[in-house]
């Protein structure tokens, strides 16, 4: 397993829970989300800047 820091820009959604789902879906493209938060919101572009750590599995990650 490896850990990676990523930044992503997510379109604001109609509700907080929809935004949460959109963030999760975007992060899933890059790995398994471990920790994330919205760092800022641009009202003009209607986008949220998200910072996150994701993990990516590799072949040697199996636990004993």
């Amino acid at each position: 397993m490896t850990t990676h820091f990523i930044a992503a820009e997510i379109d604001l959604q109609e509700s907080p829970v929809q935004l949460q789902q959109a963030i999760d879906a975007e992060l899933q493209k890059r790995g398994e989300p471990l920790r994330w938060s919205i760092a800022s919101v641009d009202a003009e572009t209607q986008k949220a800047q998200v910072e996150a750590i994701v993990t990516v599995a590799d072949d040697s990650t199996a636990l004993a």
Binding site: A7, S15, L34, S40, A43, A48, V50, E51
Partner: protein
């Protein structure tokens, strides 16, 4: 009397430079005050840990951030316990003298506080923590050998029957860095906090048991101008005592609603109020709880590096200036008193058209 226990969640996000709670356990007085006026306080290690300092709050739930997010989303519940067997993981990258300091802290917690610890495990490789600061100014971090961490946790859980995991990882000494100097003087962002959260999140996500982290660092040169907010980390060789105390009574996670329910179990829908810094409302837990009938109290005075006020995300929150004001709101909310009735201007009712 069949009264619903009044339950408050106190969040001070980790590694974002919160002016209250961004340093060495300096949100603990807030937690102590809130614990006095609620039945159950749920908070996380960043709020309750003060290195060698801690405070026993009998009605507080010590819940690590990953578990807190799962709890808030309704996926996991919390089950209070009388005690946990705490397993200790030491990073192989810790030098012998520094390792001994950690072990002495663990033994002291056993002998002086009566905590129940298992034998310890040293990781089979150095964890190699790397720190970074994001564009927003928040501290983050990665570890090079997460599998080694998880293998050590597995040994403690399976062989030693540990019910909670304390991790001590060797963090880089960067004594001359501007970030560290600012932090020691009560300014800026804790450069270690983001990486600490990554370590504990990994263990909680994988094993679904309580976990918290304390960094191993060489002692810093004496500085006469240390901020009181950072001073708790200047008074000893290890930050482990608060972690062991917190974990010793941390609630277990209920990861399935099919699990036989107990009366003391707590689920997200039982949370009555959440207190959070007003410009740091972009965390997963708050987004989840904003969908429930929870009173969200946003504290303006607790400034952070984040730029996420509740309104920008469509979260309905009551803004207050200070934690003192938040305490008043909580008291009124618990008593069923509209806060409008406490101000001199109270408008008349209008007819809905």
């Amino acid at each position: 009397m069949n009264r619903r226990p009044y339950t408050v969640l106190l969040i001070v996000p980790t590694g974002v430079g919160a002016s209250i709670g961004g340093y060495a356990g300096d949100a603990l007085p807030v937690a102590r005050a809130i614990a006095q006026i609620c039945d159950r306080l749920i908070a996380h290690p960043n709020v309750l840990n003060g290195a060698q300092l801690y405070w026993n709050l009998p009605n507080a739930f010590y819940v690590e951030g990953y578990g807190l997010d799962k709890f808030a989303s309704g996926c996991w519940g919390l089950r209070p316990v009388h005690q946990n067997r705490v397993g200790l993981i030491l990073d192989q990258g810790i030098e012998p003298d520094l390792r001994l300091r950690q072990l002495q802290a663990a033994d002291a917690a056993r002998a002086t506080l009566g905590l129940n610890l298992t034998d310890y495990v040293v990781t089979d490789a150095p964890l190699q923590v790397e720190l970074r600061t994001s564009a927003s100014g928040a501290s983050w971090g990665t570890i090079q050998n997460p599998d080694s961490l998880l293998r050590a946790a597995e040994v403690l859980i399976k062989q030693a029957k540990a019910e909670a995991i304390a991790v001590v990882a060797r963090f880089p000494d960067d004594t001359d860095s501007q970030a560290l100097q600012q932090y020691r003087h009560g300014q800026g962002v804790d450069p270690l906090a983001g990486a600490e959260a990554v370590i504990s999140h990994l263990v909680v996500r994988t094993f679904k048991i309580p976990c918290a982290h304390a960094p191993a660092l060489t002692p810093l040169p004496l500085d006469p101008d240390i901020s009181p907010r950072s001073a708790a980390e200047e008074i000893g060789y290890t930050f482990l005592p608060c972690v062991l105390v917190g974990l010793s009574r941390a609630p277990h996670f209920i990861t399935s609603k099919c699990d036989r329910p107990q009366q003391s179990d707590v689920w997200a829908e039982q949370v009555d109020a959440v207190v959070v810094p007003a410009n740091a409302c972009g965390g997963s837990a708050l987004l989840s709880l904003s969908q429930l009938p929870v009173q969200i109290i946003a504290v303006e005075e607790n400034y952070t590096q984040m730029q996420v006020p509740p309104e920008k995300l469509g979260i309905k929150a009551l803004r207050v200036n200070s934690y003192l004001e938040a305490l008043g709101v909580l008291v009124a909310h618990r008593a069923g008193i509209s806060i409008d009735a406490l101000s001199p201007a109270l408008s008349s009712l209008r007819c809905l058209s």
